[in-house]
């Protein structure tokens, strides 16, 4: 539901860096633990970019980032399912080291 607000921020950050140039592509990284639902986000991004930049369509590329953990035994792992235990020790005493993020990695702009 809050993807609208997230999309607003993406448009703001992208247009600020584009400095008036036409944005052709936005590349995002969305983690499995970010709480952001990719399809909703892209729907809002599409709508908001059409408003912000009526002159041209923007393509979106989303890289999904799996949740990754560091176990207290020292092992790091990316479980297939969130309830998979540490493959090294079988435990769950772990901290999240990846998968929380929602990041705008880069944009492509048209310099012409």
């Amino acid at each position: 539901m809050h993807e609208y607000g997230v999309a607003l921020e993406i448009v703001h950050m992208a247009t600020e860096r584009a400095e008036g140039r036409k944005i052709t592509k936005v590349i995002l990284s969305i983690g499995d633990l970010s709480g952001v639902f990719g399809d909703s986000l892209l729907m809002y991004c599409d709508l908001l970019f059409r408003d912000a930049q009526p002159s041209g369509e923007v393509l979106f590329s989303v890289k999904r980032v799996n949740a990754a953990f560091r176990c207290s035994c020292g092992a790091t792992y990316t479980p297939a399912e969130i309830f998979d235990s540490c493959p090294a020790c079988g435990g769950f005493d772990r901290t999240v080291i990846d998968g929380n993020q929602c990041i705008i990695e880069s944009i492509e702009v048209d310099n012409e």
Partner: protein, 214 residues
């Protein structure tokens, strides 16, 4: 000619910058702050009402809802200092809302500040408000599979309250399953099964809060 511009910026950056300001404010005033997150109807406000019986106006609360001041009214009547945020539609609180809500509050005698987030298990779980800890609240009437279904919250919560345990004889809820799933998602999280109706288990929750306060 096409050019790629690297940004590598979190979409939460603007919120997180204000959350850092909030955190500095809390530290400067010696405030311990909890961010209470749950689905609607889990009993957050009732838990805070019961806490107010012990704390009185040493408990400060910022409570968020889409509409009405009903929660703040209840909490003030219970003796706490309470301020209401009406989001008008936003499904979560953000750091800027908290910063604005704090302005009229007086924290001189405050032992604990609790932010009661908008009833929603998804969106509030990832917004930093400047709190010390997130606290997830889950009631037994919602089902024991909630932690598994909402890992974004339960991996982040330092404490999990399981409320309405007085209803356990009447609902299909396995406390053992909920405890085990919470442990797998965040082994450091402490679980507090309680009933804010009967008071069972409430003392342990109060002890947790007491250990945090200044």
């Amino acid at each position: 000619m096409s050019e790629t511009i690297r940004i590598a910026g979190s979409v939460a950056a603007a919120n997180d910058a204000i959350a850092r300001q909030n955190r500095l404010f809390f530290a400067a005033h010696g405030l311990r702050v909890l961010n209470m997150v749950s689905s609607p109807g889990s009993g957050k406000t009732s838990i805070l009402e019961r806490m107010a019986l012990t704390y009185g106006d040493r408990l400060a609360i910022i409570t968020g809802d889409i509409q009405t001041t009903l929660d703040a009214d209840r909490l003030k009547a219970a003796g706490a200092q309470a301020v209401q945020i009406q989001t008008g539609g936003s499904c979560h609180l953000n750091a800027a809302m908290i910063q604005k809500a704090m302005r009229p509050m007086n924290f001189e005698t405050t032992s604990l500040l609790i932010i009661e987030n908008v009833g929603n298990l998804i969106c509030p779980s990832t917004f930093d408000l400047g709190e010390l800890y997130k606290v997830a609240v889950l009631s037994v009437t919602e089902g024991d599979e909630k932690p598994a279904k909402y890992p974004a919250l339960f991996t982040r919560a330092n404490a999990v309250i399981v409320n309405k345990i007085d209803l356990l004889p009447y609902v299909k809820f396995s406390l053992a399953r909920a405890r085990e799933d919470c442990r797998k998602l965040n082994s450091a999280a402490k679980l507090f099964p309680l009933s804010c109706t009967t008071g069972e288990g409430f003392e342990a929750w109060l002890d947790y809060c007491k250990a945090l306060e200044r």
